[in-house]
């Protein structure tokens, strides 16, 4: 049998990607004595204790619930405001459209570190600190521009004749938009929602700054517990594994669009 060189390259690369993840998963199934005591390549003494700790302690699992809540809010807000704007950019030229489009892009490129402190003060002044909506709104900073760009990319692919025919047939704009146009770009909406979900899920700096206890995301719960209780590596690893799961589940559905999303709708 001939060995194909591309298969070798891909195997090596995928192993490079998967081994660190394997190590995390393996560690989450070990006891702490095994982690620190003996060096083993796979769990000798298989245990689910680490997962049990997380799933039974509210201060742990509420982190997941909080993350889910603000991520969902963010996706809903973002898609709702981005849809009409993307339609406007893809169909009409209007005063200042290019400047506005560029300004949106700069927000995608803005370093969260620059915004952390002013966000904290702005939301304190409005008594929004430690609420889910505060994090959801803060994440709109980079998700709204991204969603507008992705959706605009998909909407460009829909011929304008469809709009015109619908108007001639007597459709009003809202009815045309919801009944005809949105089903046509359903995949685009799905991809945009996925990317908003993803960037809101992986972001930590802003979500940690804006929350203290009630809305603390899982990623921040992880950092706090490590420093407080010292070295509970097993639980830390288990928490890490659980943060990977949601992304891994949805990735299958968007596999063919993921490049388009990262390219800001430009592939």
């Amino acid at each position: 049998m001939r060995i194909r060189p591309n298969a070798v390259v891909m195997t090596i690369y995928l192993l490079f990607l998967l081994i660190p993840i394997y190590w995390l998963v393996g560690m989450s199934l070990k006891t702490n004595t095994e982690i620190t005591g003996a060096f083993t390549l796979w769990p000798q003494d298989l245990t689910f204790r680490n997962y049990r700790v997380i799933l039974t302690d509210p201060s742990w699992y509420m982190g997941y619930v909080n993350s889910m809540i603000y991520v969902t809010m963010n996706v809903v807000i973002t898609i709702t405001v981005a849809l009409p704007a993307a339609y406007a950019f893809s169909r009409y030229s209007f005063m200042g459209d290019k400047h506005l489009f560029f300004w949106l892009l700069t927000n995608r490129m803005a370093p969260p570190a620059v915004f952390a402190l002013p966000f904290f003060q702005l939301y304190s002044a409005m008594n929004l600190i430690d609420t889910h909506i505060a994090v959801a709104l803060a994440h709109c900073l980079f998700n709204v521009p991204l969603a507008v760009w992705i959706l605009e990319g998909f909407m460009r692919g829909v011929p304008k004749e469809i709009d015109e025919t619908a108007y001639i047939d007597g459709y009003s704009f809202p009815r045309f938009f919801i009944r005809i146009f949105m089903p046509l770009i359903a995949s685009g909406i799905g991809v945009a929602a996925f990317f908003c979900f993803m960037f809101s899920w992986v972001e930590l700096l802003l979500s940690r700054t804006l929350t203290t206890t009630d809305a603390k995301p899982i990623a921040a719960v992880m950092t706090r517990t490590v420093s407080a209780s010292g070295m509970d590596w097993g639980v830390l690893a288990a928490a890490g594994v659980l943060t990977i799961v949601p992304g891994a589940l949805v990735i299958y559905f968007v596999r063919n669009y993921i490049a388009k999303g990262f390219a800001l709708g430009r592939v």
Partner: protein, 290 residues
């Protein structure tokens, strides 16, 4: 596509405008306010003019962080872009294995930034990590918490692990858009593998590669969480990049004035780069539609 001139389209953009103004302009105004004032708490402000800017422009600490940042971003680009193209060229073109590779490659991109840091923090530890342990067993003196060079290598390998797939996915999408007829023509002309790459594949990937380079440059330029979790900016200040330094200054020491002045300059740099990106990209778009 011909666009209709219609200023009423502003109404459709209005919700986005309000939302982004709330989450971008208002905070930026606060930053500007801090940058020109001095405060001792209780909301009392004293006009400080451009003192903070002078302090920041001449600060060694900032120069060093900026230097480290530029070196880091350049190394990242030099590794990830060629490697990403190479991986994309080797990916299966279609069928089950193509989906299989796409899904696995996208996996690191979806892991929360601090979990990426945690994975590598654990993976690299000499006592409990596979990488650290293996290196130690091979007799390599590796310890990322003490040795600046090892810390740099760890952070760079981590970033390559985290983001090379992004470049590869974009390049792969570019490759997929090349019609088979191009390759057939090249075969008839008996083109070598290299000239197929140089004259067919590379030009076709130009647009996506530009996006990949600029996204990687931007995102590595504001990298914060991953190195912060792994090294905490140390040993010493050796892996303190711009964002880490800024966060230390603003939320650690509450030096609001200097931090705000720093933020504004940081943001202006980003703005300049975004503008170059945007101009080049819209020009490419126009060429393609022509």
């Amino acid at each position: 596509m011909e666009k209709t001139q219609n200023n009423k389209a502003w109404f459709l953009v209005l919700p986005v405008l309000v939302l982004v103004a709330f989450s971008a302009i208002l905070p930026l105004m606060t930053v500007v306010n801090y940058a020109f004032n001095d405060t001792f708490g209780q909301n009392e402000f004293f006009w400080a003019g451009i003192d903070w800017f002078e302090e920041m422009v001449t600060s060694d600490r900032l120069h060093q962080a900026l230097g480290r940042q530029v070196i880091f971003s350049l190394i990242i680009l030099a590794i990830e872009v060629p490697l990403g193209i190479f991986i994309a060229l080797n990916m299966p073109k279609k069928g089950f294995w193509a989906s299989f590779c796409l899904v696995l490659m996208a996996l690191p991109l979806l892991i929360p930034f601090n979990v990426v840091g945690t994975i590598w923090q654990i993976f690299g530890r000499v006592d409990i990590g596979l990488l650290g342990h293996t290196l130690a067993a091979m007799g390599v003196d590796y310890n990322y918490t003490n040795d600046p060079l090892d810390a740099w290598i760890t952070v760079i390998v981590m970033d390559v692990w985290h983001w090379t797939s992004l470049v590869a996915l974009l390049a792969y999408a570019g490759l997929q858009s090349i019609p088979q007829a191009y390759y057939q023509a090249a075969r008839i002309d008996q083109a070598t593998r290299w000239s197929v790459f140089r004259y067919i594949e590379l030009p076709k990937m130009k647009g996506v590669l530009l996006i990949a380079v600029l996204l990687r440059f931007m995102d590595s330029f504001m990298i914060y969480t991953e190195p912060f979790v792994v090294t905490g900016g140390g040993p010493g200040n050796s892996t303190t990049f711009l964002s880490i330094d800024l966060a230390k200054m603003a939320t650690g020491q509450f030096d609001l004035g200097p931090a705000a002045a720093f933020s504004i300059m940081y943001f202006l740099v980003i703005l300049l780069i975004s503008w170059v990106f945007y101009t080049v990209m819209t020009n490419l778009d126009r060429e393609e539609t022509r």
